[in-house]
């Protein structure tokens, strides 16, 4: 893997030669990367690049055809139950039991791990303390995503996996979730997320892996990857834009959230 510039000591996650095929289609091909502790690691790529399959194999939802994954020193194929206890997962399509309140859902999921928790603390973490008695159906898109992050935290995981956490959210809600994710990292967790929003990766991730056709085609800190491209002689047609359309949108509509009203 020539793209890997940094050598990570005491890594949280080591993915080594991971392989998955569906019939003739190779979904993930000899994938290798390493994630350090307290890192926010992004997996980028177009739809069908193999991001979700990769995450699902690491999360023990899918059996890999080959390769090895070590999470916090544990081989996931040898001890999947230990891995389940250590990870927090937000799946791509967020859905919960309909007829339990947020508070009840958090308490129930914590019980799956044999933990007793104060649900309010977890709701505060994602700025949903006032919705403790709501049902999931009463939440907006952004609130649902934030709640599923809270639900992924009930077992105090060492790694948090977020699969396209901000897809479908408006810019305000997206930025709010970025804040939540950064806060969680600052509290000592490692975060692996997928996205296809480049500005999200640039803003949020310490390092990113760019995937296409089941392979990693670039890996490194966003700034390093950009620098590399610039060094190779690339320049934008309209270089040095001081603002983009999203900046216009946000300056017009404000940074405050709309979905909490």
């Amino acid at each position: 893997m020539t793209q890997q510039q940094t050598v990570i000591h005491d890594p949280m996650l080591i993915v080594d030669q991971l392989h998955k095929r569906y019939g003739d289609l190779v979904a993930v091909e000899s994938l290798s990367f390493t994630v350090g502790r307290k890192e926010i690691f992004g997996i980028l790529g177009p739809n069908g690049a193999g991001k979700t399959t990769t995450l699902e194999m690491i999360e023990t939802l899918r059996e890999p055809d080959g390769g090895k994954v070590t999470l916090n020193g544990v081989d996931i194929r040898r001890s999947p139950m230990d891995v389940k206890r250590m990870i927090g997962v937000q799946l791509q399509s967020t859905s919960f039991f309909d007829r339990l309140t947020l508070r009840e859902l958090l308490v129930l999921f914590a019980e799956f791990y044999g933990r007793k928790i104060d649900p309010l603390r977890y709701l505060q973490e994602v700025d949903l303390a006032d919705r403790a008695a709501s049902y999931p159906a009463q939440l907006s898109g952004g609130q649902k995503q934030r709640f599923s992050v809270a639900l992924a935290l009930v077992n105090d995981p060492v790694v948090l996996f977020l699969d396209e956490p901000t897809t479908g959210l408006d810019p305000q809600a997206r930025r709010h979730l970025w804040g939540v994710i950064q806060r969680i990292r600052d509290e000592g967790k490692t975060i692996v997320l997928t996205t296809h929003y480049m500005e999200e990766a640039e803003e949020l991730c310490d390092r990113v892996a760019i995937m296409d056709h089941g392979k990693i085609i670039a890996l490194g800190a966003p700034r390093v990857l950009i620098q590399k491209l610039v060094d190779s002689g690339f320049s934008r047609e309209r270089a040095h834009a001081l603002a983009n359309l999203e900046d216009v949108f946000l300056s017009l509509t404000g940074h405050s959230l709309r979905d909490d009203e």
Binding site: E59, T60, L61, M81, K84, R85, I87, V89, L91, S93, S95, F96, F97, D98, R99, L100, E104, L108, F109, E111, F112, Y113, G114, N155
Partner: protein, 356 residues
């Protein structure tokens, strides 16, 4: 274990918060019972008269006369058999022609009836019998001593349609709860990825399924309790069985239908596919398994085929326990039937069930 318990409580909570299922599980069966309970189909059209002829040749003419009365439907049999029929409400009135009848002694008939349970039938029946006897005597001799009617009061178990219906409706509810309750819930959980979300937690699939099954069984117990109380106290159903045995039979039946529900949940990809599959299984049984009407009127072939259906076993066993006070020995054939269905349906569920 702890996880299973917590999940069971949560599953029960979710179930009870679902208004439509609660209506179907509790309100609808009660409504059905109430409707049929208050409408009385058994008005006085013909009266069913049991006749026991102990007088041999001397009594034959009397029996013949009874047979000619259009308001009477006459059944003749031994005293033992006819008494039994009277006791379960199959006869409105029992007339016994004593051995000494027609031998010169003062003519006398013994009449057995329950004034309390069938006041109109008792009164009308004795009048008709008296009239028939008077006419007979008059025709022969012009005037001879009148036949005395020796009326003995008995207490019969006058079974009504509701008595028949209650165990049937209970069986129906258990089937609906098992098949529809589980199939819909699981297909929704599956399609919306909630089962996948559970798979990344340490909760084991078997713990989750146990929780679903146990929570539904709790609902079955509540259903039975509610319907028995309503049946006995509001509709005055004659329940003489062992409630615990009834519950045990219900649990066995519920197990079979829950497993069938899981099998459908495995086959169906979306909620839309559930009703056709579930109806294909439940409707024929509803109509042919003796829930609403006795299977004894079905053609021989149909009766043989429907005799093996799980709802038939369940309804027959529930009914035998509820209205005949049957014990384990009497319902052994049904228990064996359900006992065969249980592993078959559980096997089917395991074979068909998918988490994704």
């Amino acid at each position: 274990m702890k996880q299973t318990w917590v999940m069971t409580v949560a599953a029960l909570k979710m179930y009870l918060r679902q208004r439509e299922t609660v209506i179907w599980a509790f309100f609808f069966p009660l409504l059905l019972l109430g409707l049929f309970g208050f409408i009385r189909f058994d008005g006085v059209g013909t009266m069913h008269l049991g006749v026991v002829n102990a007088a041999g040749a001397n009594g034959v003419a009397v029996v013949e006369r009874f047979r000619h009365v259009s308001a009477l439907e006459v059944s003749e049999g031994t005293e033992e058999a006819e008494r039994a029929q009277l006791m379960v409400g199959e006869r409105d009135l029992l007339v016994i022609i004593p051995a000494e009848f027609g031998t010169g002694a003062a003519p006398r008939l013994i009449v057995l009836a329950d004034r309390e349970a069938k006041p109109r039938e008792t009164q009308l029946g004795t009048l008709i019998v008296q009239k028939v006897m008077d006419d007979a005597v008059f025709a022969v001799a012009g005037s001879l001593p009148r036949t005395t009617l020796d009326v003995h009061a008995v207490t019969v178990r006058n079974l009504t349609y509701v008595d028949f219906l209650l165990p049937g409706v209970l069986s129906m509810s258990i089937m609906q709860l098992g098949i529809f309750g589980v199939a819909f819930a699981f297909v929704t959980l599956k399609r919306r990825g909630i089962l996948r979300r559970l798979k990344v937690t340490p909760l084991q699939p078997r713990e989750f399924i146990t929780a679903q099954v146990v929570s539904r069984l709790v609902v079955v117990v509540a259903q039975i309790a509610l319907m028995l109380v309503f049946g006995v106290y509001v509709l005055h159903v004659h329940f003489i069985g062992n409630a615990l045995l009834l519950l045990a039979v219900a649990m066995l039946g519920a197990t079979v239908f829950l497993a069938l529900g899981f099998a459908i949940a495995g086959l169906a990809r979306t909620e839309d596919q559930v009703p056709p599959m579930a109806n294909a299984i439940t409707l024929p049984m509803l109509l042919l398994s003796g829930v609403f009407f006795s299977r004894s009127n079905l053609p021989e072939m149909v009766r043989l085929i429907t005799g093996v259906l799980p709802l038939t076993h369940l309804a027959d066993a529930m009914r035998a326990v509820a209205i005949d006070g049957a014990g384990v020995a009497q319902i052994m054939p049904q228990l064996i039937g359900l006992g065969i269905w249980a592993p078959v349906s559980i096997g089917l569920a395991i074979w068909l069930f998918r988490w994704e």
